[in-house]
Subunit: 346 residues, 2 copies
């Protein structure tokens, strides 16, 4: 019998590496292929085209029991644009592929599309194509985002250098705590459909999970500050996983400080209520869609005191590894604990 390897053995990133490792670029217009937030294509003298594509599957990425369709549409666009912003680019167009089960009505699909249009409006992108097909099994959404970036301003994952400062936008762990709340109320509802959900005062966390925003504003802020990061990535799978991507691509190590990680008080208190460590939630919880980037030391004054940005650590030599330093003075090695969809399924 032929050898068969379960997908869970490799995980998403291992599988992608296995599949794409031997790809040779043939076209001169392909500047960068697989391996960053976006592919980078030659456009004209001064700009690159950047593009990225992602899929959201019902039951894996969203649960229609608590995910409003309109928010789902909005989120599907926002999370794809996030990859364009992670290259320091401007998002311009999206292609939308929907695979829908025939239990969905025209009105339901319109709800999803209304959310997509709302996001397109908000982020200033055009919906330019895609397709709609049926599916035997629930809803699948694939979005391709297309953008442009000034050749002098493009930021890759691979540019971090020793002593660079590590910066993160917004706050972390909120989307993960929102998910915990929703999952808890789902269980309550399953055992007692009359129960009212206990979401009072939790609006921020629910919105972080159900209707996240992409940080276009941070790209604009960087432009205004005349600050070009040395490396950047968006936080979709959790700070730990993304920091490791930057370190791997840049061949460097990193030290971050737990007390510097920005955590909203709502996230903090909710984590405590759930008997979860807030720092672990911020480090490993996914779907925050904040930007993680590195800057030169000399640019510190530009970000200092900015309420949208937190300096959480610095880049080290690769031999030093990747660590989180705790308040208690411990150095905890950072390992990838982001989502492994294939493992979750087991």
């Amino acid at each position: 019998m032929e050898k068969t390897t379960p997908l869970s053995e490799l995980g998403e990133f291992g599988l992608i590496k296995e599949l794409t490792d031997d790809i040779q670029i043939k076209n001169s217009s392909t500047i960068v292929g697989v391996g960053d937030d976006c592919a980078v294509l030659e456009r004209n003298k001064t700009t690159f085209t950047i593009t990225s594509s992602d899929t959201l599957m019902q039951g894996i990425h969203f649960d229609l029991m608590y995910q409003p369709l309109k928010h789902l549409g909005y989120k599907s666009i926002a999370v794809n644009l996030s990859d364009i912003y992670a290259m320091n680019g401007q998002a311009k167009q999206v292609l939308i592929n929907l695979a829908i089960g025939n239990r969905f009505s025209v009105e339901a699909i319109k709800e999803i599309y209304d959310g997509m249009k709302l996001a397109a409006e908000k982020y200033g992108v055009d919906i330019v194509g895609g397709d709609i097909t049926s599916s035997y099994a629930g809803l699948g959404i694939s979005i391709t985002a297309i953008g442009e970036v000034d050749k002098k301003k493009i930021v890759y994952r691979s540019g971090a250098k020793e002593n660079d400062l590590i910066v993160v936008s917004g706050d972390l762990g909120g989307a993960y705590m929102g998910l915990q709340l929703l999952e808890r109320e789902k269980e309550v509802f399953k055992s007692n459909p009359q129960a009212q959900p206990e979401f009072e005062g939790k609006d921020y966390l629910l919105e972080r999970q159900l209707k996240p925003e992409a940080r276009k504003d941070i790209v604009e802020l960087l432009e205004k500050m005349e600050l070009i990061p040395t490396s950047m990535i968006d936080i979709s799978d959790g700070l730990a996983s993304e920091l490791l991507h930057i370190c791997q691509a840049s061949n460097v190590g990193a030290a971050i400080y737990d007390e510097k990680i920005p955590i909203d008080p709502d996230t903090y208190h909710t984590a405590v209520d759930f008997n979860l460590d807030p720092y672990t939630s911020a480090l490993n919880g996914g779907e925050d869609y904040e930007l993680l980037f590195t800057i030169k030391q000399e640019d510190y004054d530009k970000v200092k005191g900015n309420p949208h940005l937190s300096v959480i650590g610095h880049i080290t030599d690769a031999n030093n590894g990747v660590y989180m330093m705790t308040k208690e003075g411990q150095a905890v090695p950072i390992e990838a604990q982001g989502w492994n969809h294939f493992r979750e399924e087991e």
Copy 2:
């Protein structure tokens, strides 16, 4: 209760129209949005970027009972590139999104990817990104194709003019007859798993269905002939459906002649064996991925006698409607009978 409309009431094209009718283009770099084979984006002084995205879902677009995984990978790339060629463009890059159930092994996914790489090699495109995720519902493949086209040579669906000649590449109906053969043998196999499939001499038809090619060679032929069609589309849903798209986009009518429709002898005889009308199969059978285009009368000499091209009729005034003229002298109105995935599911 709120009104709910079943998807089957609108069909794919009706639904797309309903969802996208009110979209306003905001970016100057968006030249054409929804409505042609590709979206058209500004690239540089002399070229446009063109892009298209499509999804293939297990159970809807392919049946793993008879679709070899490697061919499936090959086909998923080829059918997406077909949209680039339908704009008279050159395909350059693809993004690949895979959604896979955990019953698939790493080896199975590699088979699919090997087919994709083979197609990428053959058509000279680079695989530059995408993602892989799990799915509760079998296999889903979304491909985004990206290409370039000289601004002076781009061909839209909307350029057909009265008296233009209607031309089709290759031959039609083969993929549909291949599907009939595969479905028949599947039924035989279900009732008797020991039965050997009867595919002798049917290689051509099976290949048309399982491993179709995109007509890059026709775009190159047009270039060599110095012939720019007035309109063009690829035949994915059947000649009838695509001709109607051209007529609608160009606001014209059309007359085609059944005896001019190119049908391979294998297709013809197999249709007869199945008690199907070969012309109807050629007209309404999908997935041929040939190019359907219109040319000015004065360009007739360029295509005359070319073994890859058949002149099947001419464009008329819109008021004349869209007709097929039979050998017997009857004028049969052409109506869309392409795939309605939502109807099939019922």
